[in-house]
Point group: C3
Chain length 220, copies 3
């Protein structure tokens, strides 16, 4: 490998920073969901792990990629366990009050990053554009779906009418478009992540709701 240029170094440093923020944000969403369901310390760690790593792991199983992120970087598993144990003891000590809405902003960052990296990895395997975009959506949303299924809820990503998966979908297409226009992979990555995160932040701010049907179903 040749030494990285200045811009690549900044990109790489940004990538690591945002990736960390994304994992932490998704793990925290699992933590909040687990606390609300009054899970014990083990359940908390499992739900945090599913939320943080579930999307990327399913993407890697579907793409037949190894090693998984948490196998290549096992340090994250220790951090996750540490946070879960600390959270339980903080909760017992202080009856700490969480505001659930606070988690939505780093979660939006994570959504953008996982969208861009999932789309990128799938395109690197020469998959069709629509499949690559779906891999981005899967990376960005499946952790939250697993978190909610294990907590016995209808997944927020499916039930909540605030746009979520559709932001990842739009971000993925931005990546495809940028490559089609022969822009650099770094630019495509930033554009995709910014689109998905930006749409999500706008959706939260404007309280926009996706259309849904309310048809009566007869029979049975």
């Amino acid at each position: 490998m040749q030494p990285m240029a200045h811009q690549d170094l900044i990109l790489s440093w940004l990538y690591t920073l945002v990736e960390a923020a994304a994992n932490v944000a998704f793990a925290l969403s699992g933590l909040l969901a687990g606390i609300r369901k009054r899970l014990d310390v083990v359940g908390l760690c499992v739900v945090m792990g599913l939320a943080a790593f579930g999307g990327g792991t399913l993407r890697d199983v579907l793409l037949d990629r190894r090693p998984f992120f948490w196998v290549a970087h096992p340090g994250w598993l220790w951090i996750l366990i540490g946070v879960g144990v600390t959270a339980i003891f903080l909760l017992r000590a202080s009856h700490f009050q969480f505001t659930e809405r606070a988690i939505q902003w780093p979660d939006a960052l994570g959504l953008g990053l996982f969208t861009a990296s999932g789309t990128q990895l799938a395109l690197a395997q020469d998959l069709p554009a629509i499949v690559a975009v779906l891999m981005g959506v899967v990376s960005a949303t499946f952790g939250g779906i697993l978190r909610d299924v294990v907590c016995n809820d209808i997944p927020t990503a499916l039930r909540d009418r605030s746009p979520y998966a559709v932001c990842a979908f739009a971000g993925g297409w931005m990546y495809v478009l940028a490559l089609y226009l022969a822009w650099s992979p770094g630019t495509a990555f930033l554009l995709a992540a910014a689109t998905a995160t930006g749409m999500r932040v706008w959706a939260l701010w404007s309280r926009y709701e996706l259309p849904a049907g309310d048809a009566a179903i007869s029979g049975d």
Copy 2:
């Protein structure tokens, strides 16, 4: 490859036709389930996709086969998204009335086809007969199970006492029997699909119920 004979051409055309019907039928079952749970347009597309492709994708992960059906034929993903978006706007425009029972007949067709193709693919990998039959059952039923888990219901295939998985089970064994009798793969395929679909149609028509236990369980 040599040119296909007349009978093979008809079989191939039939296969494509019935496969399309099977995917559409399973996608429609997901659409109905999603509408009943009042999911938004994205949730609808996800539940449709899980119902249509979930069984085949799990089968391919278990058999370590690539590419998945929806990676090899990405056009189906567009159709699915189109149907989801159209359905939402139709529902908003017209308060359309669905009869849930209407979906059961194409669903029975899909059950037969996925049973036969799942069993065939597993036998092609020299797996034991019981494993191949189970792969047929997984292909035919797992999409519906995923659909119901995501919608936070006990899966119909497990709770409903009308025979469903057992039809796929019987159909798979017909495939194994036909190969044992040295019949052609085409005949085995048709026999397996016809058995599973026929049993399912008969079960719906006769309202037969599988035996179930009603034991009291003591203790915690």
Copy 3:
């Protein structure tokens, strides 16, 4: 291969015996869960199969190992189907009373065995220790999680404050520790299994409960 020594023969025989007990124990836990949810005979077999084979199969998908246990030993599938059908007819004939607590002791045996074998298989692939231990935990607990998700419950392993996954976690570390001390794989296996099973039995006997938080969550 050279002939096995006396000790290896005993170990191999013990392994087979305990592995059978583990599969049977987990299958029975699925049987009880299915009966409580009044599933039909097919649903019973599916839930039994998920409980018995789900953990090992997920572990093998994550480790990219083939063939699965139930593909290599398809006889177990027949036994499982036989037990499911027999159970339904016994239940209908006799209104048999189950004591759910009776299942906890063989389940603890299964927990230990799957912990040790999962950790062993992951270490054989040169994975980091924390990942190998997690693979042991996944092997030991995921079958029960799948069983509960399909039955539409919050998984016992997550909700119940009696230690379960944490016993597997401790057992896995015993395996790693024993290898670090250059003990034989057989000793490490027995130590890991005994630790996990022993902790679980102690937890059941002492009714110890893991700490959990009861914080109020504001917002939303």
